[in-house]
Subunit: 334 residues, 4 copies
């Protein structure tokens, strides 16, 4: 069950409420977020909701049969909108296109990308400064200095930043330069990282695990929410299967299923989802009509010279055509 | 290599040509289809195409580096159009919507479905009369009598029939009542069945195997083509993965990849691809914008009373909305 | 439920029994095998077993909660022994080692293999004469003539033959020359083939599907059993996963799980299970100690010259060492 | 390439060597471990090894074609032995059995387990004090206090401790109480954690990712080794597949393949590998004969009352029988 507490609940009332829930053999968890305070009760026993509902200090009470609670659409029926400021919103009818290089490569790379985004009406730029790499000998990104350089340019042009955070110790140093913290596919179940991201007031985009289930993705979001942060985006980026013709198998099914299960915005990453430059647009368009709240894709002025992931990166002409088509489709579908 | 022979090649010229190819250490296969005669040479050695090209009796010669040959778009660059007669075409710009019940259930079921198809401008009806079932104790379909009943009604209303053939011995009895023979996901690598379907002049739609690769699907089509039948459709219907939130994982990536690799039409089956009625339309729309040449989906007047697969079957209202949306999208994308 | 009928049940008694079962809303299936006659009742309703048990003409009655019935160990608790004649038995304590080339290649190949088997105390030889191949242009085996040649040599030396049957029409021509019909991984759900193999009195070994579940394998066996043939072997041969370091992922778990679920013998095929010659023995030993009733593996005098699957084929020295080790382990484990 | 440096190499000699490698267009990485100093050169260009080999200050030089270097058996041919002190060794002929509860539950639980281990001749105990859980509302383990309590008891009885570390910040507080740090399946690609574990002098056991490849596991080990720690164990614990009859699919193939590819000890975790109590022993025995250097499994005095993973936990009688059988098999196989 989820009970939303009134802001002016007294401590006596709160104690009484928690005791009452505990007496039903429910484990109580108090969740304080930037937007509200909730009592999440975990248990299986049936009970009469009125035995709690009459208590003072309660705004709202719901029985949620799902194992995840706060991220479930069984609790919150209206869709969550993530507001990044300056009129940039994601979800609840605001379709977001985010693009940028796999790795931030330097000033020119940043400026060319921003120029392209602005020319096409995009407001959010993606890019990696801390790169998870299978091999310890590979390029691991420009680090915090790259991020600061990027931030300076982005701020100047009113562009928002999405970038991956790999570990708890990076959160603080990155915090002021980031609009959306991305949790990568290898960290979807890095529970300590999720816990910490629950303690900040920046949006968090969680990518589905390399072979994560849809439910596991929802649980990971529940970590962030129950830690205190309601500003969460979920991202489908393809799963690992036996098929070798594409880098991953983009799970288009996940989009309508997540849209049914959760009130959080659902983003599609077609670049990792298929891994083949010529086919990224097909998967992006498919995601848009299947109900995604946004797409995130890799672009580069000269993909073949990109420091990483060039084979799945669109050049600017391809990117412009994709953006144009998505805009046209969204218009038709209303 | 693929060499298209001239219809008036003499037997001496043919022998000379085959000898020349054999002398290059290429294995020769003569393929005679309803539309042409080909020499398919299998080998790895490099050679000068001119050493063959000058011989008499040749229309055309191509080196095809893929392991599949006749179905490859490296050989045939224009897209194949499957003409079912009466103006019903699939592929090459002709987008086909096919719908019908999982199993043909009887006269009323047939007539209601046909009425719905016609009201929505559809010309092709799907339905099973021979049903592959995991358990020997399950309903196995109405059989040949059901097919004949269906054919009578379909012919009357100008509707074409797609239905599954499960074994070689059924081909002959089904032949006159079928427009498109469907090869089911469990039979994608039933090579004897494919061989036999290569010997007839009806269209064949091959479903991707339960966990078949894209390449294996192409190879299965090569069986039919090299057997003598060029009228082939490929169908993506979802693959088996670890994810349990949907029946299968619809591989949206397969659509643009197949469209690049082969000249054959590519059909999407969103019903089996996701297996959840409320989300079939999302996957169908996604497939249409990703480049499919058609969609095939399950409908029923009362899905909850359907003899099989009810949970993934659209009712008529859902079907009409889907058809309307697809038409709108196809218009926009041109 | 499964009711074993008495051989001298009268037709009146039988009718009474079937009516009684039908009245419980159970679908009745009469199964007549080479060893007995059974009534398999399919339904979900609870009922009192005594309401049937008192009827005349019944030997035995069991409620089987599994979806598969006749192959379930919930019905038949003692393990099935497959007797191939001449003292060659598989299952129920009789551990069988079967070896031979991937494809039968000719007389010398046959004789060398038989010689090796006899020198190592083996009595069953595997080999393919009809080969399922992804590409229509690949070698498809020596066919029926190869089988006859092989049979002549095998009979002479008291060796039993296991070989794959690919289609219904081959059963009759192969019948007299085969001891165990193998159903390949691509045909595990070729239900017509399974139906027909249910009508003969030769042992049938069913390989698990390329990505078949354990339950699907049991269901496929149920097809053969309910068709009338109780002489069935199940074979784990690896499944398709994302891992590329081996040809397939040998599912060692399947062995103890199958041994718990069914009374049928369980065979392991380490050659296809790992696909790497140097590691076939490790998987074979693992299977033996995990509870398999036998192993089937590929051998060749000169694996590098084998017509197919050379990379997973043991040479004779490796084979001898493996057989010796398995014998030692079986001795220790008792 | 891997160049092992002499302990008395001068800084001039070192500079000369690094310059020489750089001049071949190889990226140089200096790796200093507890046992030696290495120059790992990453590049693709062919070169004459003698152009480097003659330089002073070199003990040893190898070309390693694998992408992982220091963990490859192409570099180090003798097997690595992990010495935990007090005569407790793993690898290179020392077969290790490690057992204990999924979660450490308290004093009684600890003492009963230790008693059982000692009675059966085992020297290493596993147990979780920091538990990764999908849901934020689940029990997350006893934490550092539980570890200290455990350590006190273990030290008293000469028992070594294997336990999972989930994040960088835990390493320091856990360090003095742990013999082997376990990296869990969800953290196999938590590169920051691996980096940090490379800086300590305690053994590290890395579990294969939930759907990690064999190569990725090797790369993760390369992170630890290149960070400075040579004391690494690899652990196969089953992978995620479509099969639902078992918790995971234990990849028995991985054992001989890893033993071929790396010099590091390979441990099997049959408890997570199959997830079914009655079949854990079958998989454990299979692993032992397939070449594993040890097994790790879950035991509990009363599995049905265990705080987590009870369904895959052996009771003490099952554990004793398993240990006895493994000892017998290891004796036979020599």
């Amino acid at each position: 069950m989820i009970i939303q507490l009134s802001p002016d609940i007294t401590s006596d009332q709160k104690r009484q409420l928690f005791d009452q829930v505990t007496s039903l053999k429910y484990k109580t968890n108090e969740v304080v977020t930037q937007f509200g305070t909730y009592l999440v009760g975990i248990g299986k026993k049936k009970f009469d909701v009125r035995s709690i509902g009459h208590l003072p200090g309660i705004l709202d009470i719901h029985i949620v049969s799902d194992d995840f609670k706060l991220v479930s659409s069984k609790w919150k029926t209206e869709q969550t909108v993530i507001d990044l400021g300056d009129g940039v919103k994601i979800g609840g009818g605001h379709f977001a296109m985010m693009a940028g290089p796999c790795s931030i490569e330097g000033e020119e790379n940043i400026y060319k990308t921003i120029e392209h985004l602005k020319a096409n009406g995009l407001q959010i730029m993606r890019g990696g400064v801390f790169k998870p790499r299978s091999s310890p000998y590979s390029f691991r990104g420009m680090g915090i200095d790259g991020l600061k350089m990027w931030y300076k340019a982005a701020k100047e042009h009113g562009i928002k930043i999405v970038t991956e955070v790999m570990q708890v110790s990076q959160i603080e140093e990155m915090h002021d330069y980031v609009d959306v913290f991305q949790v990568g596919a290898r960290n979807t179940q890095n529970f300590n990282l999720l816990d910490e991201l629950g303690r900040i007031d920046k949006a968090v985009m969680i990518k589905r695990g390399i072979s994560g289930t849809i439910d596991e993705l929802m649980y990971s979001a529940e970590y962030v929410f129950s830690g205190g942060n309601e500003r969460i985006l979920l991202c489908e980026r393809g799963i690992r299967t036996y098929e070798r013709a594409s880098r991953n198998t983009f799970d288009i099914n996940a989009i309508p299923i997540l849209k049914e299960k959760t009130h959080l915005p659902v983003i599609a990453d077609p670049s990792h989802g298929i891994g083949l430059r010529d086919h990224v647009s097909a998967v992006a368009l498919a995601s848009a009509v299947a109900g995604a709240d946004g797409i995130i894709f890799e672009i580069h002025e000269k993909p073949d010279q990109a420091l990483s992931d060039g084979q799945q990166t669109l050049d600017f002409a391809q990117s412009s055509r994709l953006i144009h088509k998505v805009n046209k489709l969204k218009e038709v579908l209303g």
